[in-house]
């Protein structure tokens, strides 16, 4: 039997009086790309953060290859090292160059030799098309470039999966394409990805499944084709139409 790469079970999270997540469960197999959509404030980002415990859930469990991430005795730092996270506002380390941003993970967390970590960093920067920006500081890069560096930073850790939290929402429209291109390439190469995004072109071209969330629960999930043409819930259809209008579907 194949254990799924990631198994999320009955996640609950409450902030004060507001229950942001009300029992969310799903599974991800190796090489799959899943896209989370839904109105803002429905807990999609919180859900991603519960996966790597940046936000510990109140209830529920997360398993990575059968190891319980949520267990209080689990080595959370080691588990996080194998789960990439790409933030909406990049969060590149402001005092480090692009190269150092990418090499700091391998060198400090996995204790890779310094030269080796740098070689790896350069390779990942080249992979996202930024080999020539290795010595630039984050403030000297455009938003799109910063986000690509942050993807390279995640890749340098050899992650088992990468979580993308609205990776293009903070970008100017003309910079979105370069980031999506990198993400599409990754998905095609077989990287396992969980993406909170409203880029439906991206979802259509590489997602194995779209998961529609509202009010802290999964309303509906299914392959993009089915979700677009034959949604089972009225809300799913309405929402998909709305964001397709808003974001267009210009992706290849």
């Amino acid at each position: 039997m194949n254990t799924p790469l990631l198994k999320v079970e009955d996640i609950h999270k409450r902030y004060g009086n507001e229950e942001v997540l009300r029992g969310v469960s799903f599974e991800v197999n190796r090489g799959e790309t899943k896209v989370f959509i839904g109105p803002s404030g429905t807990g999609k980002s919180t859900l991603l953060r519960c996966v790597n415990q940046l936000t510990p859930p109140d209830k529920g469990q997360v398993f990575l290859e059968g190891t319980e991430v949520t267990h209080h005795k689990s080595d959370i730092n080691r588990l996080r090292a194998s789960i990439g996270f790409v933030f909406q506002d990049f969060n590149l380390f402001a005092h480090l160059t692009a190269m150092q941003n990418v090499s700091i993970g391998p060198s400090k967390v996995t204790r890779m030799h310094k030269e080796q970590a740098q070689a790896r960093a350069l390779a990942e920067l080249e992979r996202v098309g930024l080999g020539d920006k290795a010595n630039a500081y984050p403030a000297q890069l455009s938003g799109g470039q910063q986000q690509r560096v942050s993807i390279a930073r995640a890749l340098a850790m050899d992650p088992k999966l990468i979580l993308f939290d609205e990776p293009t929402s903070a970008l100017d429209p003309e910079l979105i394409g370069e980031v999506l291109e990198v993400m599409i390439e990754l998905a095609r190469e077989g990287m396992t990805m969980l993406c909170v995004t409203h880029e439906m072109g991206f979802a259509r071209s590489v997602a194995n499944e779209i998961i529609f969330m509202e009010h802290g629960v999964i309303v509906e999930q299914g392959p993009p084709q089915q979700m677009f043409t034959n949604p089972q819930h009225q809300r799913t259809g309405e929402f998909l139409r709305k964001i397709s209008e808003l974001y267009g579907e210009t992706e290849k």
Partner: protein
Amino acid sequence: MSFLFKWEWLPKMASGLVVTVEVTATCIAIGIVLGVLLALGRVYGRRPISLPCSLFIQFFRGTPLLVQLFIIYYGLPNWGIRLPAFVSGILALGLNTAAYQAEYFRGAIQSVKKGQMLAARSLGMSLTQSIRFVILPQALRLVIPAWSNELILMLKSSSIIYLVTIYDIMGVSQKIAARHFNYFDVYVVAALFYLALVLIVSLLLRLLEHRVQIPGLGVHADRR
């Protein structure tokens, strides 16, 4: 009235200057180490750690430096703790500046963007690694302008240690002035010594700030 300062007094005063520099440098070093630890304790510590840190800072910022110095030098012997004058002076100044520096460091640590810590943790760094490799390198750069003031203040405040018989610039001057009954000239020269030191330190700090500056990080970043 004419200026009656005698050049032969200068070597004596220069020896006082060396003492002032030594004392200040030592105190600042103590202040940096202790100040960073106190700031980290306040920001990241749970209550059993953050509370004592806060109390320490409150006490040393809330009472006069002179009182602190006298408690250590004249007060502690009542409890059987007899510290040499030099040690007492350094201790009082060091603990005092640590409290002030701690507040500057705390402000700088808290002004590092929140996402920096999240990004560090998401890479699998421990809290300690995140602080060491991500938070402090940024906070220590951000703190330089505010921290420079504290260094300069400390340089000048160190003059009170002449009251526990240490011959720093002030101590030497006081002795010369009293012996030759020439207060004005000697103290004016003493003031010039301090002024020169302050100018040199300010210059060095500006060089340091410039040297460690990173594009997009720090106070200058906002002005672009």
